[in-house]
């Protein structure tokens, strides 16, 4: 009798298990998360920092309210921590972020307008291909030596132009195979000249400047030595820096501690030297979950939030000591792209099956995919409502965004019309057939492990299958995917994302120029000489070249507006959405003026801690 009871129990249990497995996994319609209100509301920004000369020293004066000195701000970085403290060697975001705190550049970027503003430079003038820069007089390195034109000349000539460390700056300023030139006019004046007008160069002037007396011996020892110079094992007290904070301590896998630079050149309205904070700490945390726990436990003062955490923290915000800011759409782009390649590999086989080539190379087909996907639904279900649908090649917070290109909803009717116009028909079973009777079936790849892209893939597949296409969605390992995209070129459609700059579209030339190394949708081999560009590819090539040559913002914007228009029309990339960046910071910090371009702590020298009552 007892046995029978057990059997019944087990059957019941198994039944319940089976029932829960049978649940159909389909996206739910949710509207639960309301994004935090945007940063543009209720923030009154202070005036831009001004130049002011006191006793022969050219200071930069903060116009923000006067605060109190002292206190610590604890932020975090996810990952393994910095790989180097040498600003010219950094290849990863964390190393760059930390070296930017320690080393100022000649120029910086206005966090509100995105325009270049002076930093170590007192002022600058651009005249076509000539950049004349006046340095601040009387400002010093952290060891007391003055910052002069020699340091600037050395940094640009001997480190950057000579190809020391990470050469990405050098690579990005080569115009027609030639480097710009730099010339010292007097101790506080320096002149750069590009081989021909090249607008993106001005952004490069925000690269850090190195103290010549410290870096010169390292440069003389050669490139291999320079690669290990100021590594993470170096003694922090040997660092000679120019930024608001200097390195105090680095504990591997735990934290980086900065202390205030007592002799910084930014002052407040009472002419006291900033920064207000005594210490700035970056905790090195391994993953997002731990970061969230640390913020909740009070060990962190500021954090970037994602997905479901936003809703939870929004609830907590009401009775907690922090405020959440919506910094607007991310700078990255996420898209579906098509393989428009019509070439053969070395063995004489087409990279892409010719019948598929006909589909992908048809503009109507690409527009069909665009009309068929339901961006709104994806934002709601995948990004928890914290995203903005994306239709343009430039990201939504780019200062070059073409605002005339309208958004639209999912439109299956329009998609079907376009398909009919291109000769597609439907079989009795509802399968989509092309004009030769082939069933439209292709592979859609993305990198496995990226849950967001995997979720997008599932929804794209469902959306396209509503039109009778057959989509084989295949998440594959990231490296294999990269190999397909840049080497073997045997793919049909891919969901990918790229990071972009909201300030400088020219950074995307590797993607958009037809000979670019990441021209994914029509990747050509490195030594390809035949001109088989599509007419619109040719036009984008022209626009990109001209856009870099023009120097003033307005005329540049015309070229980049046009390129976005072409991308919008031709759809080599079908953009999906941009996630919103949400950050939280504790209320005790004042002078916090978040912006979409700068984030929360771009004005770290002005931020201060108010006494807690």
């Amino acid at each position: 009798m007892k046995k029978a009871g057990y059997v019944v129990l087990i059957i019941l249990f198994a039944g319940i298990l089976a029932k829960s497995c049978l649940y159909v996994d389909k996206p739910q319609q949710t509207t639960k998360t309301i994004p935090p209100h945007s940063i543009t509301e209720d923030i009154i920004y202070p005036d831009r920092q001004k130049n002011i000369t006191i006793d022969g020293v050219d200071y930069l004066q903060s116009q923000a309210p006067i605060g109190k000195f002292g206190g610590t701000l604890v932020a975090s970085t996810i990952g393994e921590g910095p790989k180097t403290f040498n600003p010219f060697n950094s290849k990863d975001n964390i190393s760059s972020l930390l070296s930017e705190i320690m080393y100022d550049g000649l120029l910086s970027t206005d966090a509100i307008t995105g325009q270049p503003i002076p930093k170590l430079a007192k002022d600058f003038t651009v005249n076509g291909d000539t950049y004349l820069i006046h340095l601040r007089k009387g400002i010093k390195w952290s060891d007391g030596k003055p910052i002069t034109a020699d340091d600037v000349l050395f940094t640009w000539q001997n480190i950057i132009f000579d190809g020391y460390g990470n050469t990405s700056i050098r690579d990005s300023i080569v115009v027609d195979g030639k480097l710009p030139t730099v010339r010292k006019i007097d101790d506080y004046t320096i002149e750069f000249k590009t081989p021909k007008p090249f607008a993106p160069f001005i952004r490069m002037l925000s690269s850090p400047i190195a103290p010549k007396h410290v870096f010169e011996p390292a440069v003389k020892k050669g490139k291999p030595y320079f690669d290990t110079f100021l590594s993470t094992n170096a003694n922090p007290s040997t660092f000679v820096t120019s930024g608001a904070f200097r390195l105090k301590e680095y504990v591997p896998a735990q934290r980086v501690v900065f202390e205030r630079n007592p002799d910084y050149y930014i002052i407040n309205k009472n002419d006291q030297k900033l920064p207000y904070l005594d210490k700035l700490v970056y905790l090195i945390v391994g993953d997002v979950n731990n970061e969230v726990l640390k913020f909740e436990g009070g060990e962190l003062d500021t954090i970037g939030l994602q997905g479901a955490n936003v809703a939870r923290f929004k609830e907590l915000e009401k009775h907690s000591d922090f405020k959440i800011y919506n910094l607007g759409p991310d700078t990255g782009t996420m898209f579906i792209t098509f393989n428009l390649n019509n070439r053969k590999d070395e063995k004489g086989n087409y990279h892409v099956d010719p019948k598929k080539q006909r589909w992908f190379q048809d503009k109507n087909f690409r527009q069909v995919v665009d009309y068929a996907i339901d961006r709104k639904n994806m934002v709601l279900n995948i990004a928890n409502g914290l995203g903005a649908p994306l239709y343009t090649a430039e990201s939504l917070n780019s200062i070059f965004l073409n605002k005339d290109l309208p958004a639209y909803e999912r439109n299956l009717e329009k998609a079907k019309e376009l398909l009919k116009a291109s000769g597609y028909t439907w079989s009795k079973k509802g399968h989509l057939l092309d004009q030769y009777g082939n069933h439209v079936e292709f592979d859609l790849y993305t990198n496995a492990g990226n849950t967001e892209r995997e979720a997008i893939g599932v929804m794209v597949k469902q959306d396209l299958e509503d039109l009778g296409m057959k989509v084989n969605f295949k998440p594959i390992e990231f490296n294999s995917l990269v190999n397909k995209l840049v080497n073997t070129l045997d793919w049909d459609m891919v969901i990918m994302g790229l990071t972009g700059s909201p300030l400088e579209p020219n950074g995307g030339k590797n993607v958009w120029m037809s000979n670019g190394t990441l021209h994914m949708f029509n990747q050509r081999p490195a030594d390809y000489t035949k001109d088989d560009r599509y007419p619109w590819e040719k036009e984008i090539d022209y626009l990109y070249t001209q856009g870099a040559l023009a120097t003033d913002f307005e005329s540049r914007k015309k070229f980049y507006d046009k390129y976005q228009e072409i991308a919008y029309e031709e759809k080599p990339f079908v953009y999906i959405y941009s996630p919103l960046r949400i950050s939280a910071i504790r209320n005790k910090f004042k002078n916090v003026y978040p912006t979409s371009l700068g984030g929360i702590t771009y004005n770290i020298e002005e931020i201060y801690v108010e006494d807690e009552k």
């Binding site: 393994e80 050469t167 094992n233 731990n290 726990l293 490296n479 990441l518």
Partner: protein, 323 residues
């Protein structure tokens, strides 16, 4: 003298083993389709020349066998090479080894100091309520997955605010005086040690209990009792000495685990130890770092076994005769 020859023999025997281990690991890592440069390749601002330079620097342009040869040659010379970021592997390991040793030695010392007496006590009080309660407790200890337990404790720390949330030291560690620093580290260590301790205590206590029960049941113990020896002499002089032999073998394995035993817990607690370093290295296919850690694991295991064998020779005369 004999024992030195024995040790020498054992060391020589381990050389081919190490070679096989290194070849296997090297080829498995290299044949997996993980490309250390994949991230760079998809970065629009990285130029072709930079990629080329990186490929050459990491030696990825050469056939695997050549890469292995290069690695093996420098390994024998004692040079562990550089990580994919250009840092010295040995320096990287040196940063982390003390932290991991600190954690694992505390855990091992604690478990042995508590586990052995508890095992003995349970065996001596066989089938009493004391023994049963211990059995239930150790079953629970063995059943909880370590990472899950670690996460539970972390949430506990967040909710109560009694413990720091991971890490090893507080951010103002430098400004503290010595007693404060000791307290700070201990404070950070409590939770990870609790996780690892609960886990290994259960196994050790059960092993000890079973061994002692076996021995207590044997004829010579019965004989010793019949001879009229005091219970103390029977248990601690005769039974325990025999029951401890398998534990010494176990100690050898524990030694191997000194540097590699706590990766999951380290990861959850963001403990700056070797486990976290190696996990991150594997994900990035940082070959020199992964190889160094694998070889270190293999050498530690061989060493641990060797030490256990030598200890056995000392404690057990029967083995001495055979050797």
């Amino acid at each position: 003298m004999q024992i030195f020859i024995y040790i020498l023999k054992r060391i020589l025997q381990s050389i081919p083993l190490l070679i096989i281990v290194s070849i296997l690991s090297f080829f498995i890592i290299r044949l997996s389709p993980v490309d250390p440069l994949a991230e760079l390749r998809l970065n629009p601002s990285v130029s072709q020349e930079t990629l080329q330079k990186e490929t050459e620097r990491l030696g990825l342009d050469k056939p695997i066998i050549v890469q292995y040869g290069k690695w093996a040659k420098s390994f024998i010379k004692g040079d562990l090479g550089i990580t994919s970021n250009g840092e010295q592997v040995s320096a990287k390991l040196k940063e982390r080894i003390p932290n991991t040793l600190l954690l694992t030695t505390i855990v091992i010392a604690l478990t042995w100091l508590v586990g052995i007496p508890l095992g003995v006590a349970a065996a001596l009080n066989w089938k009493t309520p004391f023994d049963r309660i211990l059995t239930v407790l150790t079953s629970i200890g063995m059943a909880i997955p370590s990472f899950f337990f670690a996460v539970l404790l972390l949430i506990f720390a967040v909710k109560t605010g009694w413990f720091p949330i991971g890490g090893l030291t507080s951010s103002d560690f430098l400004e503290m005086n010595f007693p404060q620093q000791v307290w700070d580290i201990s404070h950070h260590l409590i939770l990870p040690v609790t996780v690892l301790f609960t886990l290994s205590l259960a196994g050790l206590q059960r092993q000890m209990r079973a061994n002692l029960l076996d021995v207590l049941d044997s004829d010579y113990v019965k004989f010793a009792r019949a001879k009229g020896l005091s219970e103390f002499d029977v248990v601690y002089k005769h039974a325990l000495r025999n029951a401890i032999n398998p534990m010494i073998t176990l100690l050898g394995f524990e030694f191997a685990g000194l540097l590699s035993g706590a990766a999951l817990t380290e990861y959850v607690f963001q403990y700056p130890g070797l486990g976290r370093l190696i996990l991150e290295a594997v994900l990035k296919s940082d070959i020199n770092l992964v190889m160094a850690s694998l070889m270190m694991g293999a050498i530690m295991l061989i060493l641990g076994n060797l030490i256990a064998d030598i200890l056995l020779i000392i404690t057990d005369p029967r083995i001495r005769v055979k050797a």
